[in-house]
Symmetry: C2
Subunit: 273 residues, 2 copies
């Protein structure tokens, strides 16, 4: 398995430097010669949508994705409609800041009934697709680790995400493969192959042993047990040669100065991904 | 969906009253009129194997299972052999205390290579089966939640467990369905159906939201989001009418007096399972 030889596909997912504002993250990427960035909507809102768009354009950075749409289900009809409407705003924001990928977190069930919630996720995505297509934005279903099934996403495996993509069969729909969420799955390599042509993103981090925390326990690449290079080569074999986002939720990393984080993640990216 | 009307299938998995010794747990079950108990090997060792066997026999309790064999993989050949040998001791212990089910935790990989570890688990089970059959003991593969993939079990779904059972096709091999480990899986009902005739145990607890802890975060039935009754009826539709173990890792419950725990679990069992 061959290492990557340069940073030309590296992307900073903004959550990795959680304390940085949009201008700080843009500046950090420029200095560290990281060509891509992925933004979070709350950070974009804090800086302003147009200002964010201007900053990245002037910096010459490419935007790999916007995080995140989804969170469809709600206990009330009004709540559900408001969430769909919020997804339309997210699609507009993605188009404005210059990315064609909106990452979807396919939210938890509003009741105990997982089946109904799963079907509702698919219906919601179907409803959004024409709007997304009209804005040149693709929706990326990111299956999440099953430990987030109750609180974040009823889509818990790449197989499930692939099924939705297959059933809806729309050019603006695909999957986002995050190693932290899928590494444990004995079907992951088959399902990456099955996702050929529909992979919209590839996210890296690592699974620490012991896992320090359910949400905040992700590690820097190389510090855990995930076969990162094998997974990267698998998505490449499936035709994905787009940006590779480093997305790490980890308080210790968030507390580290951003410049150090970018230096370390660049080094680890070349060494382990 | 119909509630259970009596406690005739209820089993106390000893971990739920972690502070109780074997004699205390046996006495507790008798007083609470819980007909089954499941033991943990460390507790059995503390009381003594023969003494444990005598206590349950005299109490007239039925033993639903022994926890736990497995943990097969190791970095060294000697380590692997020692682990296989330890599984033979566990099989003997199960036979001695009068249960025909040894629960297997299909241990973590000794390296990053999950595929090899998965194959090694299957090989190890295959090696143990003649010994288990000779002792009248069945090996129950318990798929564990994917969040334990790195530290506890490379078997993370019922589908995977079913595949091993199908491939080895041995009357002394089956699966143990624990709702905490499998509830998130969109395939769980299909796979319970596929497991018909090979289900050796059914464990209940609940998934709390938010999950308080990775290992110690299980909840009492009814306190979380798992569709317990639907899962119980699914295993029944697949032909399983054996004991239902309550297995809860939770410090607050461990700190509660055992009698209170047994009263609450009996009540919740009738109400929610």
């Amino acid at each position: 398995m061959a290492a990557l030889t340069d940073l030309s596909r590296l992307s900073l997912n903004q959550i990795t430097t959680q304390k940085w504002s949009v201008p700080e993250a843009v500046e950090g990427c420029l200095e560290a010669e990281i060509p891509y960035i992925s933004f979070w909507r709350d950070k974009v809102a804090a800086t302003g949508l147009k200002e964010t768009a201007r900053l990245v354009r002037e910096a010459g950075l490419k935007v790999s994705s916007l995080c995140r749409g989804g969170w469809f289900d709600d206990a009330t009809k009004e709540g559900r409609l408001a969430r769909l409407e919020d997804n339309r705003r997210a699609i507009e924001e993605a188009a404005t800041i210059g990315t064609d990928v909106l990452v979807l977190v396919c939210g938890p069930a509003a009741s105990k009934d997982q089946d109904t919630a799963r079907a509702y996720v698919q219906d919601s995505i179907e409803k959004l697709l024409p709007f997304a297509a009209g804005h040149g934005v693709k929706l990326g279903i990111e299956p999440m680790h099953p430990m987030y099934a109750a609180e974040r996403s009823v889509i818990v495996s790449l197989g499930q995400a692939n099924n939705i993509v297959k059933q809806l069969n729309h050019p603006n729909l695909g999957v986002v493969v995050d190693v932290f969420h899928v590494w444990w799955d004995p079907e992951v390599y088959n399902q990456i192959e099955a996702a050929a042509g529909t992979i919209l993103g590839f996210h890296v981090s690592d699974w620490l042993v012991p896992l320090p925390d359910i949400l905040m326990g992700r590690g820097m690449m190389g510090d855990g047990v995930i076969e990162l290079r094998r997974l990267r080569e698998a998505v490449e074999a499936a035709g994905y040669f787009g940006p590779i986002e480093v997305e790490i939720f980890n308080q210790a990393i968030w507390n580290t100065p951003g410049k150090e984080v970018l230096a370390r993640m660049s080094e680890r990216y070349l060494e382990h991904v």
